[in-house]
Structure formats: structure tokens, C-alpha cells
Amino acid sequence: MEDNKMLKVSSNPHVRDCESTTTIMMDVLIALIPTTLFGVYNSGDYRMYSALLIFITVTTCVLSELLFQKLLNKKTTINDLSAVVTGLLLALNLPCNFPLWMAVIGALFAIVVVKQIFGGIGQNIMNPALAARCFLFLSFTSHMTNFVIDGVTKPTPLAELKNGDVTTPLRNMFMGNVGGTLGETSTIAILIGAAYLLIRRIIDYRIPFAYIASFSVFILIFGDNRFDLEYLAMHLCGGGLMLGAFFMATDYVTAPITPMGKVIYGIILGVLTGLFRIFGPNAEGVSFAIIFGNILVPLIEKVTMPTVFGYGKKKKGGKKA
């Protein structure tokens, strides 16, 4: 049979799961829809502007990735949608009235410096969107901390908490009509997206749960109002913790691959965030905690190697006779 020449051969396995990098990124984008929509809605007079801001960061991310890869004669990877996710996450980490040109610089930093120079998708050691946020925060601090809600500049609930004069009701912090970056204000919107990711098994529950748990313990012990659950709830809902725990800390590339490592990574993030928020000069601490945690990942992995099958505790065997 001459057709034999046409047969394909390859190593096993010969079937593949339908999930791909692109479908995973798509799921993350879907999970971010509630948060994004609420962020735009919550921008008040800046609704159109914030939508434009999101559009600009996403386009800059995608185009800069495309351009970088074209210039360096690399295979383009914009179809995997990871640049879209980075762009969207970056926008969600900015105030709704953030200057566009600064946002463009942030997006370029995220894709070119943090992602592509390190080798593109999967190779970056820090979360691109968060690294860009920290970069913008340090470069344009006043613009990054100027939050407008209902037409007036207001401190975020976290800043109120830090100064000790909270006027924002907890309910608002949970629903999201408070000051803050585009994506961080609505806890409920983030939880809806997080539930989607957990149910679809896109993210592992270990990191966010260990993160939130260790952060809670830290705040209860070291916070200004010790063992005050309402104070803790404000810390959980009033800042970027939820967005960070479910959408940033769970970034595959910059989190440990080992099951135990994920727990330890989450605990470290929780402690660092608590440390930065309570003892640091700034009200917020999530982004720096995660970036710092990212750098520790190789070490965490090294000490959390799983027990290989057949090397665990000795099971009763045939030797007893």
C-alpha cells in the first residue's frame, strides 16, 4: 500500500487534551469581565475615559509584543492572548483617571522589559502587570495614588484605615463603590470571577487561600485593632488584596509548580502584605509583596519537592512472613 508513506509517527501519547494556553487565557479574560465592567461603571465621570484607558493598555501590550517579536525575527505569540491579559490586568491596577501616556509607558515596560527581554511567555520571573504597576507607582506616585470617586478625590478605604479615620462603610468596600484602582474596588465582582476560575480549575485554590489565611492571621495579631474582625474585613475588602490573591498571585509563570510550594508561597505573600501594610509607609502592600514573592519562587520550589511515588512512608509489605 503506497499510502503508508503518508502515515504520521510521533512519540506517545497520541491524544491531547482540548485545553491550551489560549483557552486558559480566554478563561482568565472571562473571569475578569465582572471586575472590568464594575471598574468602568464605578469611574463615574471617567467612564468613557477608563474604557479608553483599558483599550490603550491592552493594545499597547499586544502591539509591543508583536513589534518586538517581528523586529527580532521571533515567532509571534500574540494569539495566545497572554498580552491581552497583561494589558487588562495592568489597567485594572491603575486609577480611572490615570494619564494615557503614562499607561502606555507602563504597558511597554510590562511587555518589553519584564516579559519579552526575559524570553517571552513563561520565562518572565515577575508578573509583568504587577511589575509595571510598581514601576509606575515609583515613577508617578502622585498620579498612581490619586483616586477620584463621584467627582471628588478621595483616599482609598485602606488609606483611611491607615490614618485611623474610616468613613467608608464596610458594605461599600464589599460592593465596590469606593476609591481605588479600576479593578480592585469590588470584592464581590472579583469573587465571581475567582469562583469561575476555581470551578474551571484554571487556578489552584492553594495560593489564594493560603494568602488570605496567613494575611488574616497576621492582621489579627499585628494590626492596629488586634483581634477585631471588622478591621480585618476592611483590610480584606478595602484594598487590592482580593484582586492580588486571585488574579495576580495565581499567575502560573511566577508561582511555584509544587503543591506544597503553592501553600508556602501563599503564606509568604500574606505575611509580606501584612508587613508592608501595617509597618510600611504606604497603605497598600499587595503588589510589592507579590513581586517579592515572585523572586523567591525558585527557592520555594527547591525546598518543596514532592515525595515521589513509592518513596513515601513504608507501607506494610510482603516481608512479614
Binding site: 509517527v9 487534551d17 502560573y252 509544587t258 503553592k262 515521589v308
Partner: protein
């Protein structure tokens, strides 16, 4: 009734419905029968016939060499045309005895006898040339002769059939449960302290119910339902599921008091001990979307794969990939004019190759491979060390524990060929260790 399982594994599309309801049909070999002398683990058999000799059905054509080896018998009568290296399905050239089938099927007198004593049972299994028919092809008489037979507590019959598309074991359980139970009983007679377990995945409830009806009179045999998940039928994962004992790659099942046998192997043991019948045929599932009539065939060893595809109605459209064995662990074949061996569990023909459809991209560190790995190693890291030729790190991270089941490549969203990289490195490390 609890459903037993292990940690890790994947759920590929089963595809068993294609051939599930097709009863086993016996197929006679074609004009030329190619009997490979090395179709088992261990030393190849040495030919006992020469060109021009006339052989009969059940006539020995290859004699086992050394302790780990197996005899080879002819399934046809005819003249030996050649003794020469021929291509096998996996692409390797192996010395073969080629017989011109005269279609008379004249039978030789029984090549061995069994009087029911332990020694004669083991001798019959050895003489019959029985090897593990799940694919590995380890000589069964060696497996059944552990150092301390009294320490064996469980004889596990592997009816999990976790590979997608495969239905040959299922058909055996439905059509001849009594042979399986009696075959297991024969093995149990060798190990006085052992219990017999027939492990079946819970997607074959009818087989479980049927088999239960046949074990009533055997108080040492029980049926255990295992969770439908690949690789549930792997030796290590199956032992873990039914006995909660773990073995690593350096151990044998006997080290934890277990011996695992494939369904077809148990049937072959029955035939050898009860009917003095050497191993000359096996059940092969012929399936896949490019096969006209997916079916389960009883095929003589040495039959050309092209012939049995013809028996299954031939191709429906142009196949792009043909696999010998299951889609998870089987070998892609490039020439269908190669013979069926004792380890050929299936011939699967697909009109589209799922592997070629995807291009591998960067690892995104998602950890899915870690979640599904039944050996609990880190496939993504091992594959990287393998690709970089980093032998020391590969060994340190227990790369040799990989069972090559394919779960990591299957699940990888970046479509990386993790199994291939790890497998290649593993083979080279093991080969250099042997030196």
C-alpha cells in the same frame, strides 16, 4: 462498594463505544506468517527450524534462551520460507521465522503436558511461551517464580483496561469469564497465601456484574471496582488502588507481595495448563475513526497488520496515524506490513493526528503535569533537564521514576512533548547504567 484509585491521572475521551459491542471474531492468518523471535523482554529466542522445514500448528519455531526469554510457536502449518531480520511495528528489525501458510492447519502433538503439580504448571506456562500481554511482554513464568512465593499476598488480574479505545479485555470478561476465573485459580494454586483480585474500572459495570456471578464458588477471589481514570491499569497505580501499597521503579510488585497479570495473559495460562495449548494467538481491538467496522479479533501472532485491518472492513477514508496499542502509550507505526506480536493489544487508525495539529509553545508553568503525574515527579522540570542534557539533575529529581504513561503530554496546555523528552533521557540513562 467503594471505588478505589490513585492520585494523579487524566480522563481522555474513551472511544470504547466504537468496538465495545463487537463480539470477538477469530481470524485466520494470511499466506505469510512472520514470527518474531524477540517479542518479549529478555533474550530473543533462537530459531529451532531452518529454511525448508515443514512446521505444524503449535510447532515450536523458537526456543527460549536463558532465564528471561520465551518460546515461539507457529500458528499455522507450512514450510519455513526464511529466517531473517524483518521490520517490526515499532520500526526495529528483529530476527524472524517466516512461514508460508499452506492453509491445512495440521496440528502438532501437544508440545508439553501438565499434571497439575506446581512445577508442571510453571513448566507449562514457561513452555507455552507466555509473556505479559498488556504490552510489556515480560515472560510470565519469571514473574510467577518470585524468590519467596509464600510472601505473595495478592494476585491481581488487571481488567482495568484504562487505555482509550481498547475493548479486548472487556470482551474477554463478557464472553469468557469462566476462563479468567479458572486461570486466576491456577495461578493461586502456586501461592498458598495469596488472594486473587480481579480489578475492573467502573465504566465496565456489566463486566463487573458478570464476573461477580462467576467467582461465587471461589472464596479466595474477589472483584474490586476501580475508578475509571488513566493510567489506572498501570502496574504501580493498580497495586496502589487495590492494596494501598506503593512501589517505585527499582522495586518489583513481589516486593510488596503482589503479582499483576493482564486478562489475556491469564487466559493464555488457562489454555496452557488445561489444554496444553502454547500461546499462538491473542485478542486485538481494531478501532479508530478511520476503520470501517471497529471490532475485536482473535488474531494469530505473526499475522500482518494490513490483513487484520482488511478484516475490520478496511479504511474509511485516508488514515493519518496508525497506532499499535492504546493512544496513550502505544507506538505510532509507519508500515502496516508488519506482524502482530504477543504484545499487540490494539491497532487504532485515526483520520487526523491530534499531535500534528498542535505546535509546542513555551511552558507556562501551570503545573497541570505535576497534578496528573502518577509518579508524583515534576514533568515540566524533568523535560527541561532532559532537553538540556542535564543528566545529574534529571536523576536527582527522580526522572527515572517516570512510567512513560503520557499524562503530562496529554494535559499540557502548551502542547509540549514532555513524555517524549523524559522518555528519551530515561532510556539513555538506563542504557548507560547497564554498561
Amino acid at each position: 462498594m467503594s471505588v478505589l484509585t490513585f492520585r494523579g491521572g487524566v480522563h481522555p475521551k474513551e472511544g470504547k463505544e466504537l468496538s465495545k459491542s463487537a463480539p470477538i471474531r477469530k481470524v485466520l492468518p494470511g499466506k505469510e506468517v512472520v514470527l518474531a523471535l524477540g517479542q518479549h523482554i529478555g533474550a530473543p529466542a533462537s530459531p529451532t527450524v531452518a529454511v525448508g522445514d515443514y512446521v505444524l500448528v503449535n510447532g515450536k519455531v523458537g526456543a527460549a534462551q536463558g532465564a528471561v526469554s520465551a518460546n515461539i510457536y507457529s500458528p499455522v502449518s507450512g514450510v519455513v520460507k526464511a529466517v531473517e531480520p524483518r521490520m517490526m511495528a515499532n520500526g526495529l528489525k528483529v530476527n524472524c521465522v517466516i512461514i508460508e501458510n499452506d492453509d491445512k492447519y495440521e496440528k502438532a502433538k501437544d508440545p508439553f503436558k501438565c499434571d497439575g503439580s506446581k512445577n508442571s504448571i510453571l513448566n507449562a506456562i514457561k513452555e507455552a511461551g507466555i509473556v505479559g500481554m498488556g504490552g510489556a511482554g515480560f515472560p510470565t513464568h519469571v514473574k510467577l517464580s518470585p524468590k519467596h512465593p509464600k510472601d505473595i499476598e495478592y494476585i491481581v488480574v488487571n481488567g482495568a483496561e484504562c487505555e482509550p479505545y481498547l475493548t479486548s479485555d472487556y470482551r474477554r470478561m463478557i464472553e469468557s469469564p469462566e476462563v479468567i476465573v479458572e486461570g486466576l485459580n491456577i495461578i493461586l494454586s502456586l501461592f498458598e497465601n495469596a488472594k486473587g483480585i480481579i480489578a475492573i474500572e467502573d465504566n465496565k459495570m456489566d463486566a463487573i456484574i458478570k464476573m461477580r456471578g462467576y467467582i461465587k464458588n471461589y472464596d479466595r477471589i474477589s472483584i474490586k471496582t476501580v475508578y475509571t481514570k488513566y493510567p489506572q491499569g498501570g502496574e504501580r497505580t493498580l497495586i496502589k488502588a487495590v492494596t494501598d501499597r506503593e512501589i517505585n521503579s527499582k522495586m518489583l510488585p513481589a516486593d510488596v507481595g503482589c503479582i499483576v497479570n493482564n486478562i489475556d495473559t491469564v487466559c493464555a495460562i488457562y489454555q496452557a495448563v488445561k489444554n496444553n495449548q502454547p500461546l499462538i494467538s491473542r485478542i486485538v481491538t481494531v478501532s479508530g475513526d478511520a476503520i470501517k467496522n471497529p471490532c475485536n479479533l482473535e488474531v494469530c501472532v505473526g499475522t500482518s497488520i494490513a490483513d487484520i485491518i482488511e478484516e475490520a472492513g478496511g479504511f474509511k477514508g485516508q488514515p493519518e496515524k496508525i497506532i499499535s496499542g492504546g493512544p496513550m502509550m502505544g507506538t505510532a507505526i509507519f508500515d502496516i506490513n508488519t506482524p502482530v506480536t504477543k504484545g499487540t493489544s490494539a491497532i487504532l487508525c485515526f483520520s487526523k493526528d491530534e499531535v500534528a495539529k498542535h505546535e509546542a509553545s513555551n511552558c507556562i508553568n501551570c503545573g497541570r503535569c505535576v497534578d496528573v503525574c502518577p509518579a508524583h515527579v515534576l514533568p515540566a522540570r524533568l523535560a527541561l533537564h532532559a532537553e538540556h542534557g542535564n543528566v545529574d539533575e534529571f536523576v536527582k529529581m527522580k526522572g527515572l521514576e517516570c512510567c512513560e504513561c503520557g499524562c503530562c503530554s496529554y494535559i499540557c496546555p502548551a502542547k509540549r512533548n514532555l513524555t517524549q523528552s523524559i522518555k528519551t533521557m530515561r532510556k539513555s540513562v538506563l542504557a548507560s547504567k547497564k554498561k
